[in-house]
């Protein structure tokens, strides 16, 4: 298999510098002032790729799902609240118990320094059989059933943004690898 063509597109061209550790406002039609994250910021918020992100804002006094809806929501003064990636089909998840897995960052210092070096996101994954074949889904689907949460809309990072958000049934073409083995009789 070849590595995906579409996924790592963001990585090549050199240009002006901005602090990748800060979210910045982007202009997305219909969502002026949306805050957009970068790959570095994404990594800052996770212990390792696949870990639930910490909550990047303070307590706002509202239920998480009042802003983090299935389609996300523009919140005045704050930016765009990304959609909920956990779909209705997520089995055990209960959308209203977000803090079971996502915690606030109330403190910047560490209790004790750590040498933990977690898995980083692999932007080259998403293998495809040939140049125009749809890439396979390079991560587990569980708890990520709402593909559009990360791959479409104002909150989607450009490296992984879909070119065809209107086709909502993503898994019609993009399958998830259930095994690393190849077929053998």
């Amino acid at each position: 298999m070849k590595p995906s063509l579409a996924i790592p597109l963001a990585l090549l061209t050199l240009a002006a510098c901005e602090d990748p550790h800060r979210a910045r406002k982007v202009s997305v039609p219909g969502h002026e002032g949306a805050l957009k994250t970068t790959a570095t910021l994404r990594a800052d918020r996770r212990a390792f790729d696949g870990a639930p992100p910490v909550i990047p804002h303070g307590e706002l006094g509202a239920a998480c799902t009042s802003c983090h809806t299935v389609r996300g929501m523009a919140v005045p003064e704050l930016g765009f609240a990304p959609p909920l990636p956990h779909g209705e089909t997520s089995g055990l998840s209960d959308a209203s118990r977000c803090t079971q897995c996502h915690v606030f960052r109330r403190e910047e210092s560490l209790y004790v320094a750590s040498s933990f070096a977690g898995l980083r996101q692999d932007l080259r994954r998403g293998e495809r059989q040939h140049d125009v074949a749809p890439p396979v889904v390079p991560h587990p689907i569980f708890m990520r059933e709402n593909c559009a949460a990360c791959h479409a809309g104002p909150a989607a990072r450009e490296e992984i943004r879909t070119s065809h958000p209107d086709r909502e049934n993503c898994r019609q073409c993009h399958v998830s690898a259930a095994t690393e083995l190849v077929f053998a009789r």
């Binding site: 090549l12 901005e18 803090t99 109330r106 490296e159």
Partner: protein
Amino acid sequence: MWNSDPDRRRFLKTLGAGAACVALSPADRAEAARLLAAGAFESADAALAWHKAPCRYCGTGCGVEVGVREGQVVSVRGDEKAPVNKGLLCVKGYHLPGMLYGEDRLRHPQLRRNGKLERISWDEAFDLIAKEFGGALEEHGPESVAVYGSGQWTIFDGYAALKWVKGGMRSNNLDPNARLCMASAVMGFMTQFESDEPMGCYDDFELADDFVLWGNNMAEMHPVLFSRILEHKRENPNVRIVDLATRRTPTSNYADLYVEFRPGTDLAIANGILHLLLKKGTIDRKFVRENVVFKRGIEDLDTIGYGCEGDQAEQYTFKDQAQASSLEELEEFLADYTPERVSEISGVPKAHIDALARIYGDLGRGTVSLWCMGVNQHVRGTWMNNLINDLHLITGKISRPGSNPLSLTGQPSACGTAREVGTLSNRLPADMLVTVDEHRAKTEDIWGLEPGTIPAKPGYHAVDMFRALSRGDIKAMWIQTTNPWVSLPNLHRFERKPGDGRFVVVSDIYPTPTTDVADLILPSAAWVEREGMFGNTERRTQHWDKLVEPPGEAKEDAWQIVEVARRMGMEHLFPWATEEDGDWHEPMFEEYRRFTLGVGKDLASYEQLRKARGLRWPVVEGKETRYRYAAGHDPYVKKKEGVHFYKAKKNGEKAAFWLRPYHPPAEVPDAEYPFWLCTGRVLEHWHTGSMTRRVKELHQAMPEAYVEVNRADAVELGVQDGQVVRVVGRRGSIDLPARIDGRGATPRGSLFIPFFDESVLVNELTLDAMDNISKEPDYKKSAVRLELVSS
């Protein structure tokens, strides 16, 4: 990482081919270039291997897949094939890898000489332990040595300790920290069914209609199991949750009925429910007639006492005496527990007591009772366990899919190691007791020891063990995988004085207040740094392989014990090649397994467990058991239908219903100390925080302990949210920030403090009162006052 040139060229080519298609922002481009230069992204070809393991923390026993690359744990994900959690974890589980990599991991054996720690070799360490323990045995006898273990011990660790202490040193001074957490549940099951551990299992989370939580904040303490309940409720709107509690918790938010009661009055409430069940006739008389006998024990408060400092003798040795009772006597006994009187005692409205009676009494609906520390850490914890089991016995709601009492556990192998291996001062494997001649004989036979090797007198239970250490009756003690100088109640009582003549060894993975007072510190291998097996709440035994090397010279606890036993001339106890990474785990487990076969506690084979995502015992002919004592489920039940409590030999193979009265707590608020103090955990931290505080995300989310104060009390005392206040009790005082209406909310006159923070030792305030039967301390009910701290 970018080690391979062809890899890199291919990647750059790929990037070039696609670059023209997408409009990139300048920031993305800049970041991309920087990351590329730094080699920050993973190579798809780098070998990342995934392996199964149970989570390291609580008794739920979630399955995780551990991502290992180049000898390091780099990732963890919920195991979708794990029947316990079906892919979901809690925030502690998702951040497991960080637990291994705190920079202050203990890496080498260290001996304290003249107040300073010096690095020594393993050989020196083992020789010293052998000398000190051997010397104490010779000079003062087997009662002068002790091992204090853990519900976090693997089955291997616990079995090695049991064999060394009871079969080698001929002492019963072996007790685990599990004595502080689930001993009351053990004694509940043992006194009623003569066999420990639940009859039900997690399948009930999708089968029950009503869930009654007795003092159990599942949303924080067993979050994945609570998620299963909530998911079931979402799909079945008729499902109800009742939260009986002494403070509002995140669990209360999901309850259909929240029942707030005064601390300790759950005894009265349970009796009040029984009163109404009998009065309304909503009991299963046929079930009771066929399967239940009635009993009562000593009920006089003065005779029983509370076993705490200043209350009774230095050693608390109360023994209950059973006498036969009957359903008729029960009716008389319960006459006092009218809704009016129970309401008066507990503060619970009569309507709520009635609602509870209707839930248990609706014989058409499945009812599961759940409890953990609220019931177990209770001066009458065994009685409370008895009463909850009684509610299920009287209604026949037991050993039935969707209807069971299910006691939850707080440690990953409280069941598998402490309870099943039997690392308690009065126990032997598979429900056996040191006080029973045949049980000792069977153990000696399997171990190939001379008859009479194991003493018949039980050793010290946990609290008494530390009292004996303070007195000097115990000369040498080895503590593994636990942190008693944070977790014991009434901590001041156990302070060590320099030059006290005792020898204390501590095996752990990080420095703690317990290693601070140790004479010898040994570095242990943690979790997937060694092979292991845990047994969870639902009788599921789970195996994992060693996946990475431990840091420095750290070694697994079982191996440490075996090496010391060899040096004490007890190599006959461990006749397997126990060199590092030798294949001794399988023969050790298969020897232990012999205790379990044929007695209804049958464990699966080592080979089967290595492959499975855990199996629930009894495992007979390779098949696990979901419901014990139930026809059609339990292979030991030969009946075509119904239940058979075949383990309860003393009662004609019937379960015992115990009549248990209400007794007040040992210490109650008064004019001088007007507040209740309850201690416990929070979602982010596990137990004394020695592991979870070293995980960045968990520490940053919950960096310090706090005291939860009721808003009206705060207003009255002039306490602001976040203000540092002083909590003063009879035994000590601590300063910490107040939190008003945080994630929990205490009722007026009541405080809550979590115990994970070693810099604010809430156990300097708690009372060392304990349950009369299980000897488990009550961490939930002390009296304190709140003071402002002048700045």
